[in-house]
Amino acid sequence: MSIWDWYYVWEALPFLYRGAVITVQATLIGFAIALVLGLIFALIRQSNNRIVNNAMAETVEFIRSTPLLLQIFFVYFVGPQFGIVIPAWVAGIGVLGIHYAAYCSEVYRAGIEAVDGGQWEASIALNLSRARTWRVIILPQAIPPIVPGLGNYFIGMFKDTPILAAIAILEMLQQAKNFGAENYRYIEAITMAGFFYLVFSLIASVIVQAVSYWLNRRYHLQ
């Protein structure tokens, strides 16, 4: 028996493909949630109300200090205890999104705080409403520079999707592992899964750079 057998590579491909579709879907939906929710978290943190501000900060801190796996368990299993059944998909991707929203909110916050204070003063002097100041003055300046930071979490989330296997979502790595268990051959399937994560990370970082470049030009920040 050779160490690396191409036969198993071809055999494993359909499994991996099915898993990869789930993995990519979970990442895209999860990250969309993280982007929107993260921004909301960040805006709440800018509140002038000390209590709201601190509560948000503590919540973000808590989410960031506890494992994603345990958070997924919490949401998926605690609901049924009280008669609320949440589908694995919703629980898994929802928690993925919330977990990374906490990280993204810190990135947004850094971007918002980096905008020159004079921009707020100028907006007040021009009598712009608060909402409009956020939308057309502050955020267009705050977000383009932080795209690389957000992009890192996009890639990070992708690499965290295997955790979904714990609540029986058959993403790519679980498919690879199942294939390995069925055939008593782990090396090809798991190595290929690892390879795919690496390739995706590299491609994603190129895309993130392109988006960053485009946004910065679009808003003339470079």
């Binding site: 160490i3 808590f62 200090s65 796996l69 345990l70 592992k177 782990y186 798991i190 690892g194 994560y197």
Partner: protein
């Protein structure tokens, strides 16, 4: 909830916490040592050495931690290397995090002001002495806060050991919850367990180190 189940669960959780702390300590040691060494290789003046550093960092950061754990656990035995789950946990989690750590080390070393390198050349330091006495002490101080965050990521990463059969905190909570049916209680306890390890052990330790190493940089501390 029966008393037996409760007693069993409390014992399991306590053991889970201890195992999580032990693996976190062991993996941190691996991550710090490998991160420091590879970070230094990454800034070596020799190109092949530097490339090795790049490959190491990209490999461990680019492939998922769980993939790496499976690799250690399921694939390596094919080559006749069988490691105990404990070894896999400590080495697997530690090596994965060391990729991120090496990148922190690289960034901190390259972030030391150019003038420090120039003064070292002007004073004729050999490269190793310059690194050891001048550059690293400054770089280490600069990278400490980032290491604090990274070690919390490491702590969270140890929960993935769930998948390779060690009953650490997450697994213990799951077992206790399954046994008693009280998911809210045990998962909440476990969540706070992690939170306290992160905020009452890791963060204060790193802050203390920051203060110690940062003494020379603060007028107030010197006064």
């Amino acid at each position: 909830m029966s008393e037996f189940a409760l007693g069993f669960s409390v014992a399991a959780l306590t053991k889970g916490v201890l195992i999580t702390i032990l693996i976190t300590l062991g993996a941190s040691l691996v991550a710090i040592v490998f991160g420091l060494v590879v970070g230094l290789l990454r800034v070596s003046p020799r190109r092949p050495v530097r490339w090795f550093g790049v490959a190491y960092i990209e490999f461990f950061r680019g492939t998922s931690m769980l993939v790496q754990l499976y690799w250690w656990f399921f694939v390596l035995p094919i080559f006749g290397i069988t490691m105990s789950p404990w070894t896999v946990a400590i080495v697997g989690v530690g090596m994965n995090v060391s990729g991120y750590g090496a990148e922190l080390v690289r960034a901190a070393i390259q972030g030391v002001e150019r003038g420090q390198y120039e003064a070292s050349i002007a004073l004729n330091f050999p490269r190793l002495t310059m690194m050891r006495r001048i550059i690293l002490p400054q770089a280490i101080r600069a990278m400490l806060p980032a290491w604090g965050n990274l070690l919390i990521e490491l702590l969270k990463g140890t929960s993935l050991i769930f998948f390779i059969t060690i009953t650490e905190l997450t697994t213990a909570a799951k077992l206790a919850a399954d046994a008693t049916g009280n998911y809210l209680l045990f998962f909440a306890i476990a969540l706070f367990g992690y939170y306290f390890i992160a905020r009452l052990m890791i963060t204060p330790l790193v802050r203390w180190l920051e203060r110690r190493l940062g003494r020379a940089y603060s007028r107030e501390a010197l006064a």
